[in-house]
Symmetry: C2
Subunit: 166 residues, 2 copies
């Protein structure tokens, strides 16, 4: 699935609105810390945010290692770290050793279900779960900063398929 934003080398024109807005924020943050706004950072930023699903750092690196807009692996890892620090992506480590990221900018809080059969990451929102967690922390005097819930099992589609095959 290549959801790469269509963008020519002068790419400010067609990238979608969300990405543009995010980019402006990122630029502000970069400048604020006395860092520089570069072509490579723009490319990595665009590609990372263009992925609506979860992606692996090295996957993105493979994708960006060829072609006219190539960026070196080192820079990709460095830029992702910068984006993480700035809060645009967040690392998740569930079913795999290697680091997955997901977009966090413009993405409401949600939890994950991972299907054992097809490997898909399903996102869901569940206020009841959030509430139960918050309540728990209040009782135990634990100051929650964030939480993660992951459910492993079989998704609806795969369960149906399994049933049909029997």
């Amino acid at each position: 699935m290549k959801t790469t934003t269509t963008s020519s080398s002068k790419s400010t024109g067609r990238a979608n609105a969300l990405t543009e807005q995010a980019w402006r924020k990122f630029v502000a943050l970069i400048k604020q810390r006395g860092a520089r706004v570069t072509r490579s950072r723009r490319i990595v930023f665009e590609h990372a945010l263009a992925r609506s699903d979860h992606f692996r750092a090295d996957e993105l690196a493979d994708e960006l290692s060829h072609g006219p807009r190539r960026v070196s692996r080192g820079t990709i890892y460095r830029t992702l770290a910068l984006m993480e620090e700035a809060g645009f992506v967040r690392p998740i480590r569930d079913s795999d050793v290697h680091c997955h990221y997901e977009r966090s900018y413009g993405h409401r809080h949600h939890e994950h279900m991972v299907c054992d059969k097809c490997g898909e990451f399903l996102e869901f929102r569940a206020p009841e779960i959030t509430k139960a967690i918050r309540e728990h922390c209040r009782k135990r005097r634990f100051e929650e900063r964030q939480h993660r819930v992951v459910i492993f099992g079989t998704c609806k589609k795969c369960a149906a398929k399994k049933k049909r095959e029997k």
Copy 2:
């Protein structure tokens, strides 16, 4: 924290009851699959289960790389994988890239809180959270096999310390 079970080279005598019982089950599983009960497996098994807290594979490997009961790194990794498959330990990957394990045999289901300040893993049980998750899966027709909840934040102790320092 070295909670290593006291055990001489002929170690069947003093190891605690839980470990002995677990070991007998592990032996049964090993035999069932036509594999062999070896000294190395016994050593790794004991050390892994003797840890009441979470441990890293490479930490255990360091620990067992020296001394009279030494076992090679390769074997340690292979044995941990075997134990995981057999359900005696389970891998968790939260705050770190590297693989942590925790004992799962004789360990009731629980969730985790990780303190940002002191890095401690706190375990807790929370039936309300479990219930909310189960209910959610029922509604979405997701067949849950297991779930994990991790809460990141500041533990009671560290929060108190912070307050005192102000």
